[in-house]
C-alpha cells in the first residue's frame, strides 16, 4: 500500500469527505439555529454583564474626561514642585466648564476617593471662582484654600490621569499606591476588607462542613428508605426551596432572637439562666445556623443522586467478604460517594462565599460577608467601580477554588444530579 491514503470516492465520484460534509451541513445549520437564541441570550445576560463589570472595575475615564486640559498640561510636570501657571490655567478652564454643567460635585467625589479633603476645597473653589479675574490663576486658586497650595493634592489629581487603574483592586485588599508609587497596606485601624475576606472564607468553609455533616446521613436515609417514606422526606428537604429566602431568614430571626423560641426552650429546660440568654443572632452564630439550613438542600441533592446509584449489594458484598459494617462503609460506600461530596461541597462553598441576604439580616456586624460590603458600595457609596472590583475578586476566588478542586479531585469526578 502507498503511504498516501487514497481518497475514497462515493459511487457518484464525489470525494467521500466532501459528500459527508455536504450531507451534514444542513443538520449543523439547523442545530446552530436551534441553540442560537439561547446563545444570544447567554451573551446578553452573562458575558456582557461580566465584561461590563470587569471594564467598570478598572475604568477611570470619568476624571480623565472631566479634566482633559489639566492632564494635558500636567504631562510636562515632574510632580516635585507645585505645577506651573499653565496647569492652573488649564485646571481653571476645565473647572469652569464643569461648574457650568453642574458636574463639579462628581469631580469632588471622585477626587475624594483618591485623597480625603477634596470635597470642601472644591466647594470653596466653586464659590471663589465666580469672582476670579483673568490671568494668574495659580495665585488666585492657591489663595482659596491652603490645600490648593499643597503639592500632595496636585499629585493626587495627577494620579487620576490614566484612563484605566487597578487601584480599586488594591483597595479591596486594603492596599493603595502611596505618594512614592509603592503598593503599601493602609494603616492597621483602617483595614476592613481583609478581615471580611477572611471571615467570608471562614464562614463559607464551616457552613460547608456543617452542611456535609448534616446532609450525609439525610441523603443516605433518602437513598435507602422505601419509596413512600423517602418521597415524604424528600419533600421535607425540598420544602425550604419552595419558600422565599427572605421568609426563611426571617423565621430564623424569630427562632434565634434573645426572647425567641430557641432561647425560651433553653431557659425552659434549665440550660441557661433567664437573665443570661445567649446571643445567637446578629453575630457569626446566626450566619452559621441560617446559612447551613438554607444551603442544606444543595448538599443533600448531589449526595442523594450519587447514593441512589450505589447498589445495596456492594455493602452486602463488603460485609459478606468479612468487613465489619464500619469497614464496609469506609472502604466501599464512602469512596463511591466522593463525586457527590465534591459536587455538594463545591456548590455550597461557592454559594456561601457570595451569600448576601441571610448574613445581612442575621449576621449583625460580626457575621457579615464581603458580599454585604459589595452591596454597601453599590447602594450607599455608589462607588460601583469598587463594587465591581470586589465582585470580580470574588469571582476569581471562586474560579481558583474550582481550579484547585479540579486539580485535587478532578472535575469529571463530580456529579450534580
Amino acid at each position: 500500500m502507498s503511504s498516501e491514503t487514497k481518497q475514497i470516492l462515493t459511487t457518484d465520484g464525489i470525494p467521500l469527505e466532501v459528500s459527508l460534509k455536504k450531507a451534514e451541513r444542513k443538520n449543523k445549520i439547523k442545530a446552530f439555529l436551534l441553540v442560537a437564541p439561547l446563545l444570544f441570550f447567554l451573551i446578553i445576560t452573562y458575558v456582557f454583564p461580566i465584561g461590563d463589570m470587569l471594564f467598570r472595575s478598572v475604568d477611570d475615564k470619568m476624571v480623565t474626561q472631566m479634566l482633559p486640559k489639566t492632564f494635558k498640561a500636567m504631562e510636562n510636570w515632574d510632580g516635585q514642585e507645585l505645577p506651573e501657571e499653565e496647569v492652573f490655567a488649564a485646571f481653571h478652564e476645565d473647572f469652569i466648564k464643569l461648574v457650568e454643567d453642574k458636574r463639579e460635585g462628581k469631580l469632588s467625589t471622585q477626587l475624594n476617593y483618591t485623597k480625603n479633603g477634596f470635597k470642601s476645597i472644591i466647594k470653596k473653589l466653586r464659590r471663589a471662582s465666580k469672582k476670579f479675574e483673568e490671568g494668574n490663576y495659580k495665585e488666585q486658586i492657591m489663595s482659596v484654600h491652603k490645600r490648593w497650595a499643597d503639592v500632595e493634592y496636585w499629585r493626587a489629581i495627577q494620579r487620576r490621569a490614566p484612563e484605566f487603574t487597578g487601584q480599586k483592586y488594591l483597595k479591596g485588599m486594603d492596599m493603595y499606591v502611596n505618594e512614592e508609587g509603592k503598593i503599601v497596606s493602609v494603616s492597621e485601624d483602617r483595614r476592613i476588607h481583609r478581615v471580611l475576606w477572611l471571615r467570608t472564607l471562614e464562614i463559607a468553609f464551616f457552613v460547608t462542613v456543617f452542611c456535609f455533616l448534616m446532609a450525609y446521613p439525610i441523603a443516605h436515609l433518602l437513598a435507602t428508605l422505601p419509596m413512600k417514606y423517602s418521597n415524604l422526606l424528600m419533600i421535607c428537604v425540598l420544602l425550604p426551596f419552595w419558600t422565599s429566602l427572605l421568609v426563611r431568614t426571617a423565621s430564623w430571626m424569630i427562632l434565634l432572637q434573645q426572647q425567641g423560641i430557641v432561647n425560651d426552650f433553653f431557659v425552659g429546660i434549665g440550660l441557661v439562666a433567664d437573665d443570661n440568654r445567649p446571643e445567637m443572632m446578629y453575630n457569626k452564630t446566626g450566619s452559621y445556623v441560617a446559612m447551613t439550613q438554607i444551603l442544606l438542600p444543595f448538599m443533600v441533592l448531589p449526595l442523594y443522586s450519587v447514593m441512589k446509584t450505589i447498589s445495596p449489594s456492594l455493602m452486602r458484598a463488603g460485609k459478606s467478604l468479612g468487613g465489619t459494617p464500619f469497614v464496609a462503609f469506609w472502604k466501599v460506600y464512602f469512596p463511591l460517594t466522593i463525586p457527590g461530596i465534591g459536587a455538594g461541597c463545591l456548590l455550597v462553598f461557592i454559594l456561601a462565599i457570595g451569600y448576601y441576604i441571610t448574613p445581612a439580616l442575621v449576621g449583625g456586624a460580626s457575621g457579615t460577608l464581603i458580599s454585604n460590603q459589595i452591596a454597601f458600595h453599590m447602594k450607599s457609596t455608589l462607588d460601583w467601580s469598587f463594587a465591581s472590583a470586589m465582585g470580580l475578586m470574588l469571582l476569581t476566588g471562586v474560579l481558583v477554588i474550582y481550579w484547585l478542586y479540579n486539580k485535587i479531585v478532578g472535575i469529571d469526578n463530580i456529579k450534580l444530579g
Partner: protein, 361 residues
C-alpha cells in the same frame, strides 16, 4: 472427605416481611458438605430470601439455621465466613481486580505475600491471570462475573452462595460459565448454594435441586429424578416440557390407574392419587411419546398434526390429542421416514409408567 450430611441445616424456618404473608413456610432443608445445591423456582417463590437468611442479610422470623452445627441467626454476616456471588457481580467499582480480591484477605489481616499467593491462585482458577491491575469497568460482563467468583473463593470459605450469578450474561457465555463454575466446584470441593430461575442452569450444574414455589420446597432431588419423576404437577410443569391431561381416576389397581378424560380413557402411573373419583393431572414428557411405536405400548391414540416447527436437530410437532390441542412431540430429524405433515392423522403411543398421575392443577 468426611462430609457431613447436614453441613447447612434449615430447621423449621419461616420468614415474613410484613407480618401478613409468609414468603418462606416451614423450610426444612439439609445440605451436605461439598454439595452443589440449587434453589430453583419462579420469582417470588422465596428462594432468594432463603439465600439472604443464610448469608445473614435477613433474619428468620421463626426457626433456626445451622452452619456446621452452630446456630447462626445471631451471628452478623461479616462473621459467618460465607462467600457470596451477587446477581450484578457487586464488584467494588473504585478498586482494581487485585484490590477487590485483596479486600476479604485484608480484613482478615492475612500477610501480604500470603494474600498475593491466594489472589494469584484464585485468578488462575477463573483464568484471569494478568487482569489484576484492571478496574472492573474495563472488564466484560463474563470477566466481571469470574472476578466475582474468584473474590468469593479467595478467602477459602467453606460455603459459597450464588444469587443468580449468570442472569446478566448472554446465552453462550452463560453456558460456558456454567461449566466453569461446575468445574471449580468439583476441583475445590466447596459447598455451593446456588439460586436461579433458569432450569437448564440448575439441571446442568447441581448435585441436588430444591424446587421452590409459594415459599415451600416442592421437591428436593437430583436433576434426573426431578425431570423424570416429578412429584407434583408444579414441578412437572416447571422443569422441562410437559404434556398434560386433566381427568378423573376411574380405576386404580396393580400400580396402574385409569384416568377418564372428556372423551377417552388413558392408563397412568398413580403418583399422588389414592383412590377412585379423585381429580388428577396426568403428566407426560414429550420425548416419552412415540409416533407409530414399533413396540407395544399400553396407551395408543390417534391425533391430528396441527403445527410442525423445525428446530435443527429435532422437529416439534403439535398435535391435537384426546381434546388437548397443545400436545407436543419432539421428533429427532434422523427419523425422516415418518409421515409428518400438517393435517395428517397419526398414531401416538406411550407407556403408562411414564404418564404420571399427579395432583390436579
Amino acid at each position: 472427605m468426611a462430609s457431613k450430611k447436614d453441613f447447612v441445616k434449615f430447621d423449621k424456618v419461616d420468614k415474613s416481611y410484613d407480618g401478613k404473608v409468609l414468603v418462606v413456610k416451614d423450610l426444612q432443608l439439609d445440605i451436605a458438605e461439598g454439595e452443589f445445591i440449587t434453589m430453583l423456582g419462579p420469582s417470588g417463590s422465596g428462594k432468594t430470601t432463603c439465600l439472604m437468611m443464610l448469608a445473614g442479610f435477613e433474619t428468620p422470623t421463626n426457626g433456626e439455621i445451622y452452619l456446621d452445627g452452630k446456630a447462626i441467626s445471631s451471628i452478623p454476616p461479616h462473621k459467618r465466613g460465607i462467600g457470596m456471588v451477587f446477581q450484578n457481580y457487586a464488584l467494588f467499582p473504585h478498586m482494581t481486580v487485585y484490590e477487590n480480591l485483596a479486600f476479604p484477605l485484608r480484613v482478615r489481616k492475612i500477610p501480604k505475600d500470603e494474600a498475593d499467593k491466594k489472589i494469584d491462585k484464585a485468578l488462575s482458577m477463573v483464568s484471569l491471570q494478568g487482569f489484576a491491575a484492571r478496574m472492573p469497568g474495563q472488564l466484560s460482563g463474563g470477566q466481571q462475573q469470574r472476578v466475582a467468583v474468584a473474590r468469593s473463593l479467595v478467602f477459602d470459605p467453606q460455603l459459597v452462595l450464588m444469587d443468580e450469578p449468570l442472569g446478566a450474561l448472554d446465552k453462550n457465555l452463560r453456558e460456558s460459565m456454567q461449566y466453569e463454575i461446575k468445574h471449580i466446584h468439583e476441583s475445590i470441593g466447596v459447598t455451593v448454594v446456588y439460586v436461579t430461575h433458569d432450569q437448564s442452569e440448575a439441571l446442568t450444574m447441581s448435585n441436588r435441586i430444591a424446587v421452590f414455589n409459594d415459599g415451600k420446597v416442592q421437591q428436593l432431588s437430583s436433576p434426573d429424578e426431578l425431570y423424570e419423576k416429578p412429584v407434583n404437577s408444579f414441578v412437572a410443569e416447571f422443569i422441562g416440557e410437559n404434556n398434560t391431561f386433566g381427568g378423573e381416576v376411574s380405576d386404580i389397581s396393580g400400580g396402574k390407574c385409569k384416568v377418564k378424560l372428556a372423551n377417552a380413557e388413558i392408563l397412568a402411573n398413580p403418583i399422588s392419587v389414592k383412590g377412585k373419583g379423585e381429580r388428577t393431572t396426568v403428566s407426560l414428557r414429550p420425548e416419552r411419546a412415540l409416533i407409530n411405536p414399533s413396540t407395544k405400548m399400553d396407551n395408543l391414540h390417534k391425533g391430528k398434526i396441527e403445527e410442525v416447527i423445525y428446530h435443527g436437530d429435532h422437529t416439534r410437532v403439535r398435535i391435537n390429542l384426546l381434546g388437548n390441542p397443545e400436545f407436543i412431540l419432539k421428533v429427532p430429524n434422523s427419523s425422516s421416514n415418518l409421515d409428518i405433515k400438517l393435517g395428517n392423522e397419526i398414531n401416538i403411543g406411550w407407556n403408562s409408567d411414564d404418564a404420571r398421575a399427579l395432583d390436579p392443577k
